[in-house]
């Protein structure tokens, strides 16, 4: 359908101010956090109510027009990249918290609610919303649901999926279904579990019931320095193997520390190759006892220096340093690619050695900062896109790292999703029969394959690559990656 036909037809079902198709609007929506891809949609619909979303999706289904649901567009895998023949349904205006049920510790939100807004709304009652992607100041809960997003604290608290209790899901054929009962368990297959993390390919999450948790009373946050990355990796295994389940265990390498120091003045142990961040949280009683065990484990693990956050301020500085790494590295290098592969925990040391060797071989600097507790790597491949061939070399290195994760029995993505970027690697993890079964499942909800057409599955058409770089939000210092 031509742009004009689409706009005319949409105007017959929606008020005119719900539609945007000016050149500047189309340009503003052409990329998400993975700026290497840019595609302009035919039009952008900005619904003001759930009912308008239903109308729009039913229209898309009738007309066979592809749509991409969009929250804040911070996807790092091209998930919210528009479709050239389709429309974007921007959900930011659906940003009401519909219900806060304090006694039962849950909230019902519209998909456009910003992750951190929910936490600030319930903080007065000693509650919080646990999933904490480092984009949480800007990303939406709808986007988090689509990608089953994680954060530094998902080691203990799990991903988005572990915190969504029920949803009103608008399937791509326009049918509105309830999934989940809101209590945590259900009868019959876990359809809610299937919907969360489905990358917008099955439909739009229109109303999301999430769990709220009692805020931990106490935190114990430490930085431990090591002479080698391998030693830091071994310390992770020792801590986890002891029976302690810290809220977070993160590793930063020397390059990441340098970047964080330059950017936010974070202080790290001297002359170390790697630093481990471990955080315990919970009731005062538990944390007080667990910290003794942790201290003992760290001193046995060969840490050259251990810095304990003395107060909330110092804790905040440690996290600020950690969360700033990617944007900080972004200031050191004009362009970068961030990967999100997962390796079995026991292969962490080996994977890091291989990445280091590959980086040397390719002559490309790679900073490593990762969710060590669950083997989720975030190698940051630095290059200068203005120099001929550098983007391609960086891409090749990124591809090798993804392949390495597959070879080691891991996954191509831990939390950023497959999206546009990693589609060609999906067959490395799943057989043709498995992918076919996933495709049939998709078609059951979206017979015309209009929801996020071209994403996740390997055989869809891909737009050409452009330039990597900082997300506009990062340039403004609003968010950082991890």
């Amino acid at each position: 359908m031509s742009r004009d036909t689409i706009v005319d037809s949409l105007l017959s079902i929606l008020p005119a101010d719900r539609l945007q198709n000016s050149a500047s609007a189309l340009a503003a929506f052409q990329s998400d956090g993975l700026t290497a891809f840019a595609v302009q949609p035919r039009a952008i619909v900005v619904p003001r109510s759930a009912e308008e979303v239903v109308q729009t999706v039913q229209w898309c289904h009738r007309q066979g027009v592809p749509f991409v649901a969009r929250g804040s567009g911070t996807s790092l895998s091209g998930g919210s990249l528009p479709h050239a023949d389709g429309i974007v349904i921007a959900l930011n205006r659906l940003n009401r918290v519909l219900e806060v049920d304090l006694p039962n510790r849950r909230a019902v939100v519209e998909p456009g609610v910003i992750n951190s807004v929910l936490t600030s709304m319930v903080a007065h009652a000693g509650l919080y919303y646990a999933p904490d992607p480092s984009s949480q100041q800007v990303c939406t809960i709808g986007g988090n649901v689509a990608f089953n997003s994680g954060g530094a604290h998902c080691l203990k608290y799990g991903m988005t999926s572990n915190h969504v209790l029920a949803m009103k899901m608008l399937l791509a054929d326009g049918e509105l279904v309830d999934v989940g009962l809101g209590g945590g368990e259900c009868i019959g297959p876990d359809l809610l579990g299937l919907m969360v993390g489905s990358e917008g390919l099955l439909g739009i999450a229109l109303e999301i019931t999430v769990k709220l948790m009692p805020r931990p009373e106490k935190f114990h946050t430490v930085l431990a320095g090591y002479d080698t990355l391998q030693q830091a990796g071994a310390a992770v295994a020792t801590i986890i193997g002891s029976g302690l389940l810290p809220a977070a265990i993160e590793i930063m390498d020397r390059l990441s520390m340098q970047a964080a120091t330059a950017a936010v003045g974070a202080r790290y142990p001297e002359n170390v190759e790697a630093v481990l961040i471990v955080e315990l949280d919970g009731s005062t009683e538990s944390v007080d006892t667990e910290r003794c065990l942790l201290d003992e484990l760290l001193s046995k693990s060969g840490a050259s220096e251990v810095i304990v956050a003395a107060d909330a301020q110092e804790r905040a500085t440690i996290w600020k340093g950690r969360k700033s790494v990617f944007s900080a590295v972004g200031h050191l290098s004009p362009d970068f690619i961030v990967q999100d592969g997962v390796v079995p925990r026991s292969q962490l040391g080996f994977a890091l050695q291989r990445i280091e060797a590959m980086s040397r071989e390719a002559g490309i600097a790679v900073a490593n900062v990762f969710h060590a507790g669950d083997g989720n790597l975030h190698p940051l491949i630095m290059f200068d896109g203005r120099k001929p061939g550098e983007l391609q070399n960086a891409e090749r290195l990124a591809e090798k790292i993804v392949q390495l994760c597959i070879e080691l029995g891991g996954s191509i993505t831990g939390e950023h999703g497959v999206g546009m970027e990693k589609r060609q690697f999906l067959p490395g993890m799943f057989s043709e029969d498995s992918l076919d079964c996933m495709r049939r499942t998709r078609i059951a909800c979206d017979p015309k394959e209009i929801a996020n057409r071209g994403k996740m599955f390997p055989d869809a058409e891909a737009p050409a690559l452009g330039m990597y770089g900082l997300h506009p939000l990062e340039k403004q210092g609003v968010a950082s990656r991890m």
Binding site: N104, V177, D190, G193, G197, G241, S283, E285, S411
Partner: protein
């Protein structure tokens, strides 16, 4: 063996995977001729590296075997599986979607199924998830298989996330005067960031609380619980409220209820008002309860209570002629759509409601 099952799916009209038979009502299909595939012939641990916190086993592996292997390394299945002593299998456990009361500490079954391999309705071997503790690639088939009741595929292999056994646990019991008092006490505890492993309420308003952590913190946490709950607390062994209680005899039926948050009291009181049904245990935090009914004839009254609360239920044990769903069954429509995709020729039993349910509804 797997090849034989793939062939069976291709050649037979209807196939029904079976495990240890501990939840017979989920596979009841009287009057439908099915070829039963006994998954117990596919058994054994396939991979276990304690440092990865992952264990992979064939679907027919008895959970008791899995627990024994994990126990040697002080690890366990945190979702608190049921019917382990009765030889429940791994596949049957996943397909029935049931977790025990101790799942409050780290999560229910759905949070621990990392990878599944199953035969779909086209007789093809399908895999979803991965052998890592964190993974966002592809649709979450591992979760979809939780509670699939043998109707979305024949599970052949499952990888579970496991965790170290809590170093210490402690169980406290409080006798309450009413459901409302017991539920209010439970709410008070759940609003605190305490390491609570289980909170259950029994038919006589008894409140059982279990918490977990390091040995040295147990007394302190107990002290804190004592302060929060006025009234006497008794220390008990770490047993669930029921142990023999999930057995049925004669016409008795064991029903699993899942209910929306905030409905604990109404459910407990609603059930207490019924003649033919008895509460066994109610877990307010997870929104689940076990109830026993005297027989099919008692389900009609229970149905009314469940409908009124927006709760869903399924009969797990006892004699029924087919899958017996109660209360809110809106999920069946979407489940059937997904089933049609995975199993286009209808080789597995349907989820759909049938004659028996209509009889229950009168």
């Amino acid at each position: 063996m797997i090849d034989d099952w793939c062939q069976a799916v291709l050649q037979q009209d209807k196939v029904l995977p079976t495990g240890g038979g501990t939840k017979p009502a989920l596979r009841a299909a009287e009057g439908v001729s099915t070829v039963q595939l006994d998954t117990r012939s596919l058994s054994g641990v396939l991979a276990y590296d304690p440092s990865e916190f992952l264990i992979t086993a064939a679907s027919g592996t008895p959970l008791s075997e899995l627990q024994a292997v994990l126990g040697e390394h002080q690890q366990y299945l945190p979702f608190d599986p049921l019917f382990v002593n009765e030889q429940s299998t791994l596949g049957g456990t996943v397909a029935s979607g049931l977790s025990g009361p101790r799942s409050l500490l780290y999560g229910t079954l759905r949070d621990f199924v990392m990878e599944v391999e199953f035969i779909d309705g086209l007789g093809k071997l399908v895999r979803g998830g991965g052998k890592v503790v964190k993974n966002a690639a592809g649709f979450d088939f591992p979760k979809l298989m939780v509670g699939s009741y043998g109707r979305l595929g024949i599970l052949t292999e499952v990888t579970l996330k496991v965790l170290p056994v809590p170093i210490a646990t402690r169980t406290l019991f409080q006798s309450c005067a009413s459901f409302s008092q017991a539920i209010a006490a439970a709410q008070t505890l759940l609003a605190q960031p305490l390491p609570i492993a289980a909170v259950e309420i029994g038919p006589d308003f008894g409140l059982r609380v279990e918490f977990a952590g390091l040995q040295a913190s147990m007394d302190k946490v107990q002290h804190r619980v004592q302060e929060l709950l006025s009234g006497e607390l008794e220390r008990r062994d770490a047993q669930p409220l029921w142990s023999e209680e999930l057995q049925v005899s004669g016409d008795e039926l064991l029903v699993r209820i899942a209910f929306p948050p905030g409905k604990s009291l109404e459910l407990a009181e609603g059930l207490a008002g019924l003649d033919g049904s008895r509460l066994v245990s109610l877990a307010p935090a997870g929104g689940v309860a076990w109830v026993k009914a005297d027989g099919l004839q008692s389900l009609g009254d229970m149905e009314l209570v469940l409908q009124g609360l927006g709760a869903s239920a399924v009969v797990v044990r006892g004699h029924v002629t087919e899958l017996t769903l109660l209360g809110k069954t809106g999920w069946v429509g979407l489940a059937s759509r997904i089933q049609l995709a995975i199993d286009p020729h209808g080789k597995f039993l349907p989820f759909e409601l049938s004659a028996q349910r209509n009889a229950v509804n009168g």
